[in-house]
């Protein structure tokens, strides 16, 4: 029987599709403001929420959502007051959340707290039709918010001080972002589990930023990668009988390693190509200049020299000048990180 013949797998794939799309769309902003671990911190807080849900016999998804959003708002307020660093505030959340969750769950009547594992590591196949509906609601809200406020969120994540100087509502936007993270955490709870949530927010954008040139491209690519690893990881886990969360994250890491080495390879061959080109012109008879007879060709912000049909751009290095081929159109600068 195929994967889609099982209702529970249909729901699982649907859930993983939503998570794969939403988590990176929010995660990119966290990566940009170097708060990659915020998702983790809120995941821990969500555990306290889950415990409250179990204790009070309400749906853990809702209590987790409330707890995570409260934690998110709290941490932004602490950061805004500036007395405690975001780092320390995160640590307190981390440990407070998980300790609270564990202690509260231990108070639950016997037989009720048995599925701690499923919250920590995900249990995608237990996704109920109601869960799918809630997840769809959360996904729509999060994606709409990102679409609507994305540029502002970008501005605040990129340069908070400038955003404040020109009057963007920095605190409000930070709280919105944190609330979006909290919602994503709860959304991802079933699929990857609270302990692995950050991975799905961070890894796709870590991969995307190796390939993209603009922020917009990064966001779109990260979402694509997220959907890809999330859905294929869930499908794989069905056949291999492994937990979905771990499988998805391992897939994402494999992709990350693959792309990293591909980029490294491309850079090293670029270096080799450059060296080969330089060899040709190392024995250049003269330095191009106004009087050398080669027509100068303005090229963007510098001047190339037309040397028998190809363009030479002077490249001054510590070892003297050599000439780079600039062809007929601007060459892209290699990423210099």
């Amino acid at each position: 029987m195929g994967l889609l013949d099982y209702d529970f797998m249909q729901r699982a794939l649907l859930a993983s599709l939503m998570v794969g799309l939403v988590a990176p769309a929010v995660g990119v902003f966290l990566v940009q403001r170097r708060l990659s671990l915020l998702g983790d911190g809120l995941g821990h807080v969500a555990l306290t929420g889950v415990a409250v849900g179990v204790l009070t016999a309400t749906s853990p998804v809702w209590t987790a959502l409330v707890a995570a959003i409260l934690g998110a708002v709290l941490i932004e307020l602490v950061r805004a007051r500036g007395r405690t660093s975001g780092d320390v505030a995160l640590a307190v959340l981390f440990y407070g959340g998980i300790a609270g969750g564990v202690v509260l769950l231990s108070l639950a009547p016997r037989g009720q707290a048995t599925n701690l594992d499923s919250y920590l590591f995900g249990a995608i196949t237990t996704t109920s039709p109601q869960d799918v509906a809630v997840f769809a609601g959360i996904s729509v809200v999060v994606l709409l918010s990102v679409a609507l406020l994305g540029q502002r969120l970008y501005a605040v994540s990129d340069d908070e001080e400038y955003a404040r100087a020109v009057g963007l509502p920095v605190l409000g936007l930070n709280v919105v972002l944190a609330a979006l993270v909290a919602s994503t955490v709860v959304l991802s709870m079933r699929v990857v589990g609270l302990l692995l949530i950050s991975a799905l927010m961070i890894l796709p954008s870590a991969i995307a930023q190796l390939l993209a040139r603009s922020f917009r491209e990064t966001v779109l690519l990260a979402c694509l990668i997220g959907v890809l690893v999330s859905v294929s990881g869930t499908a794989t886990s069905f056949y291999t009988g492994t937990p979905s969360g771990g499988t998805i994250v391992l897939l994402a890491i494999a992709l990350f390693l693959l792309v990293t080495s591909a980029v490294t390879l491309r850079e090293s061959t670029a270096r080799r190509r450059h060296r080969r080109r330089v060899d040709v012109h190392d024995a250049h008879p003269h330095e191009h200049g106004t009087a050398c007879g080669h027509p100068p060709v303005p090229h963007g912000d510098h001047v190339d020299y037309d040397h028998d049909g190809h363009l030479h751009a002077p490249h001054h290095t510590g070892r003297g000048v050599h000439y780079d081929e600039h062809g007929g159109h601007p060459v892209a600068a290699p990423p210099n990180r």
């Binding site: 990129d158 400038y162 100087a165 020109v166 009057g167 930023q209 922020f215 912000d301 601007p330 210099n336």
Partner: protein
């Protein structure tokens, strides 16, 4: 009384960080449309003063008004443009010149509105004004330090602000780009924008900036015509205005006809 309120009005203003006063008891009024240089040695408080105007440093005492409203109360703060001294393009996630400069425009648009055709044109114009038109869609991380500073200038220009506060916009920027910036500033100054430019090298902008304020140990030591400021600004004694600012890149080629303004694209 002019019909427009002064662009900046400080009365007995003390500005600092936390509870430490840095700029003390300053009285300063900058009329709408004026072009002012803020001079002074390192650590004298120039940046603190300008950050105080933007609500980024705490006003500990006195009053600070910007565009007629107490600092922080100004409703449409998109009317203010700012070039920070420390360049702070995060670089964690790639972003293009267009995207970074576009941020300057956002503040004018309220909370939800997107960049429209006019806004996008303003962004392109601002980037062109700093001479980076051909780099619009390049990642900012692939630009040189001086070019990145010019992107931040473009971000401020894109807002088409009424009050433009620039903290050392020419630091690390080569002579040709400084001249281009001077021309741009002259044009927007002529159109009525108030300029406040913190600088150590007033020479390249001498044609634009008419008034100088010299800050010394957190107090204003001189306030008057730019030409008279030299005697009060310690820094200018060491670097007489005739001296051409040196480009900060030592490896700028000399073979090209125009000054080469870019870092080598190869690295």
């Amino acid at each position: 009384m002019s019909e427009r309120p002064p662009a900046i009005r400080l009365r007995g203003a003390t500005i600092g960080y936390g509870d430490v006063p840095i700029v003390r008891d300053v009285d300063l009024t900058v009329g709408s449309g004026e072009a002012v240089a803020v001079l002074g040695s390192n650590g004298s408080g120039k940046t603190t003063l300008s950050r105080g105007l933007l609500g980024l440093a705490t006003v500990l005492d006195g009053e600070v008004q910007v565009l007629g409203a107490p600092v922080g109360r100004l409703r449409e703060r998109g009317r203010v443009g700012y070039v920070p001294q420390r360049h702070s393009i995060s670089g964690a996630v790639p972003a293009t010149v267009r995207e970074v400069a576009g941020v300057g425009r956002l503040a004018r648009l309220g909370l939800f509105r997107r960049l429209g055709a006019t806004d996008r044109r303003a962004v392109v114009d601002a980037v062109a004004a700093v001479g980076l038109a051909d780099r619009l869609d390049d990642p900012v991380a692939a630009l040189s330090g001086g070019q990145q500073r010019r992107v931040l200038v473009a971000r401020a220009l894109a807002a088409e602000p009424e009050l433009l506060i620039m903290d050392e916009p020419t630091a690390g920027v080569d002579a040709a780009s400084q001249e281009a910036l001077a021309d741009t500033l002259a044009a927007i100054s002529a159109s009525g924008t108030t300029l406040v430019v913190v600088t150590h090298e007033s020479a390249p902008l001498a044609g634009v900036l008419t008034r100088a304020v010299v800050v010394d140990h957190g107090r204003i030591a001189y306030d008057g015509p730019l030409s008279g400021a030299a005697h009060h600004d310690e820094h200018l004694h060491h670097h007489p205005p005739e001296r051409q600012p040196a480009g900060y890149r030592m490896d700028q080629p000399t073979v090209t006809s125009g000054p080469r303004t870019t870092a080598d694209r190869e690295r």
